[in-house]
């Protein structure tokens, strides 16, 4: 298979998660990613998380997101080191960064500087909140974006206060949007400036609840029972059973009442009320469903084409054929050893996009890159 971005070079100044998730996807799709890291500290993600997640000598999260990238460790404030970056720039198709506004300009790597050296380069950047306004200098950190953008008001129930989503969702979305913009520019075949802020990505993610809010002006109400989506009526939610949890997505309430032999549900005949009366309906369902095993309920609901599923943790998932059949895990090799990680979620021409290399050690590719781009002896 020809990977779509083979022979495309990305000069990647990003760190942490949002930017590196974008360059990871470009790498998955075939691009060469040269990751510029601070000479001493490296990408801060190398050390940021709990130390017990050390994989092949690096933070597990660094390894997860930096597979198959080349590491160039240098001090951008040092003129000799900066010259190396300048030597690579004419060969870079894409330049990425996620510094706060003004930092790249101060380093002499602003969009105008890059354009002067390489007018065809695509310059992609992620900021926290854009270049203007009262938040522009705030840290673009996932939890803070969740708190400010309204996202923390969507999960959990009304008794719980704000509930952040338990993974770095805004980082991931900002990275994903940047990839789309950069690929579109690459398709157009023109040098371009592509900008995404985490705030705009978080708002785009909420286009549905926000549009509804613009429409009716009512605050988000997550409900108080088995909450799963603030805008969707009963039975939508997760329910405790005798031995686990069951997810119920859609279904007519009286029909569920018949199937599950739950008489009180038969009264809810008006589908137009399943949103307004979701707490009452869910309370009845929750009470009823806890009396039997998950398998018991699935054996009744699935044949009746009710949209439902068992709630798994990773242990249950990874052991299940529904997971193994995906071939979602790949083994990669890094200087510190081999490790397992996930692969690119996109399949191309019915083939998986996999890689063999793991995350680099800090400065692993310094001498090779110096030799390649400046002609210095390795």
């Amino acid at each position: 298979m020809i990977k779509p971005l083979q022979d495309i070079t990305v000069l990647d100044f990003t760190q942490f998660l949002s930017g590196p998730s974008a360059s990871l996807r470009l790498s998955d799709l075939g691009a060469r990613v040269i990751k510029v890291e601070h000479k001493v500290k490296g990408d801060l993600c190398r050390n940021i998380y709990a130390s017990h997640l050390n994989i092949a000598g690096q933070s597990g999260f660094y390894q997860g997101i930096n597979r198959a990238k080349e590491s160039l460790a240098l001090d951008l404030k040092d003129s000799g080191d900066f010259a190396q970056v300048k030597a690579i720039l004419p060969h870079a198709d894409i330049v990425l960064h996620n510094f706060r506004p003004g930092v790249m300009e101060r380093l002499g790597l602003g969009v105008a500087d890059i354009k002067a050296i390489n007018p065809n380069a695509i310059y992609g950047e992620i900021t926290g909140y854009g270049h203007d306004g009262p938040w522009r200098d705030r840290p673009g950190q996932d939890l803070l974006l969740q708190a400010l953008s309204g996202l923390a008001g969507l999960s959990g129930d009304e008794n719980s206060g704000p509930v952040p989503m338990g993974l770095a969702i805004v980082d991931n979305l900002a990275g994903a949007q940047l990839v789309q913009g950069v690929l579109a520019a690459l398709y157009a075949g023109e040098g371009a400036l592509v900008q995404v802020s985490m705030l705009e990505a978080a708002l785009d993610f909420q286009f549905e609840p926000l549009t509804l809010y613009y429409h009716d002006g009512e605050p988000v109400d997550r409900g108080r029972e088995n909450a799963a989506h603030a805008l969707v009526g009963a039975p939508y939610g997760l329910y405790k059973t005798q031995d686990g949890y069951l997810a119920l997505a859609m279904g007519s309430i009286p029909f569920l009442g018949e199937l599950l032999n739950c008489q009180p549900l038969l009264a809810f005949t008006d589908a137009g009320r399943w949103y307004a009366e979701r707490d009452a309906i869910k309370t009845i369902l929750a009470e009823h469903l806890q009396n039997q095993s998950t398998a018991h309920w699935l054996s009744i609901l699935e044949p009746a084409d009710i949209w439902c599923a068992e709630v798994f943790n990773w242990q249950q998932l990874v052991a299940h054929e529904g997971f193994t059949v995906l071939d979602m895990v790949q083994e990669v090799e890094s200087p510190g050893g081999r490790y397992l990680t996930t692969r690119c979620p996109i399949r191309l021409d019915d083939q998986l996009l996999t890689q063999s290399e793991g995350g680099p050690t800090l400065g692993q590719h310094n001498s090779a890159l110096r030799a390649e781009f400046t002609g210095a002896k390795p």
Binding site: L53, I55, L143, P164, V196, L203, L238, C308, W314, L340
Partner: protein
């Protein structure tokens, strides 16, 4: 403004959310997106009204995700209509669909068949769980994909039941992956002249999203993530990371040195926990002491102290406070669309191109709104 995908034609057989979200982004970036819909009812999402909100006969949800698109009505069970659609496919650059496995084959619109008509076509497929295995016929629905993927065990506190993300996160991420795959295939087509088949699924997308934790899990004797008992915000991040109640509301406290934090908010007694390992392994003790302390003053007082101490933090806003804030208003994130007198305000594309925001005031189409024009234009 000249948009990067100007001149591209995308045919969208996809319904609901994941596929149409990819179509929306391609439309935002300049592509012409034509929904192929069954006559009369059209995309099933037209009837899927969250909070029972409607505009000009379609659900508000449908309007938000199908703005800036056209509609061509065709009955895919009628061979004459299928023949017409094939003529359209012959002139298109991209098609997407999210029918369950086998349906496009029965219609004669599977990749092999349409490749015969248009070898350079980019063919995008969305499924719930891939096209083989025990779940291939299971409904590809967001909550179900979240539930089987393990994702419901990262949100909420440790003593709470599994908690889904309160938004269609699998659909949305899968839509971005579809758009990425289609765009990459378009780049390849331009460089190497070949078409492509692009497959994504809700499950693979939601697993990719959990790459950090899954990578840790797979390399650590299968240690499951544990949510903190108090103020959980990420099972792999130590204290103080979380949202805390104050005397009059809530504040978010991000990652950083516990020592810096304690000094900033004048909290004594946690000295023994200073250090990265303790911040993770003793997070419940730390978070509980923090929560007790933070109840004593207002959000405003704490935020001022934290900012003075250079510790990462923020207020927690609801939509009312957010939309009234200068930082939000300066983004110009809203745009208003009109159809038959019904007016709808929604969000714009989050990507800025060459320094400009991308707006489009074209409302979502009625079923078959563009049949006549498309028939003429493509000589169908």
């Amino acid at each position: 403004m000249s948009l990067p995908l100007a001149g591209l034609t995308v045919l969208e057989f996809s319904q609901y959310l994941a596929g149409p979200y990819a179509g929306l982004r391609l439309a935002d970036l300049g592509a012409r997106v034509i929904k192929i819909e069954r006559p009369g009812k059209g995309d099933a999402c037209r009837q899927l009204a969250t909070k029972n909100l409607w505009a000009d006969g379609d659900s508000v949800l449908f309007h938000t995700i199908n703005r800036n698109k056209e509609s061509f009505a065709a009955n895919l069970k009628d061979p004459a209509d299928v023949a017409t659609v094939k003529k359209l496919i012959a002139q298109a650059d991209v098609i997407t669909h999210n029918f369950r496995p086998g349906i496009m084959q029965r219609l004669g619109l599977d990749y092999e068949s349409v490749k015969a008509v248009n070898p350079a076509l980019i063919y995008g497929e969305v499924s719930g769980y891939g096209d083989t295995g025990p779940w291939k016929d299971k409904p590809g629905q967001d909550l179900l994909a979240q539930s089987v993927s393990g994702l419901t065990w990262v949100t909420g506190n440790g003593d709470q039941p599994p908690t889904p993300f309160g938004i269609a996160v699998a659909d949305m991420l899968c839509g971005t992956h579809l758009a990425q795959g289609l765009l990459a295939a378009l780049v390849r087509k331009k460089r190497f002249g070949v078409g492509a088949k692009v497959n994504v699924s809700l499950l693979e997308s939601i697993l990719d999203f959990q790459f950090e934790g899954l990578t840790a899990y797979l390399n650590s004797d299968n240690e499951l993530p544990e949510r903190s008992q108090i103020a959980n915000a990420h099972p792999y991040v130590g204290a103080p990371y979380g949202i805390y109640a104050t005397a009059n509301g809530h504040i978010a406290i991000s990652m950083g040195s516990l020592e810096t934090l304690c000094k900033a908010i004048d909290l004594q007694g946690l000295e023994e926990f200073y250090g990265v390992d303790a911040q993770f392994f003793e997070r419940d003790n730390i978070k509980s002491a923090l929560q007790k302390h933070l109840k004593n003053r207002t959000s405003g007082e704490w935020l001022q102290m934290l900012e003075q101490g250079s510790y990462w933090c923020s207020e927690v806003l609801d939509y009312e406070a957010l939309t009234q804030h200068e930082a939000y208003q300066l983004l110009g994130m809203e745009q208003t669309l009109e159809r038959n007198g019904a007016s709808l305000t929604t969000t714009r594309c989050p990507i800025r191109y060459n320094g400009e925001r991308i707006y489009s005031d074209k409302a979502a189409p009625k079923v078959g709104a563009d049949n006549e024009r498309i028939q003429q234009e493509f000589a169908l």
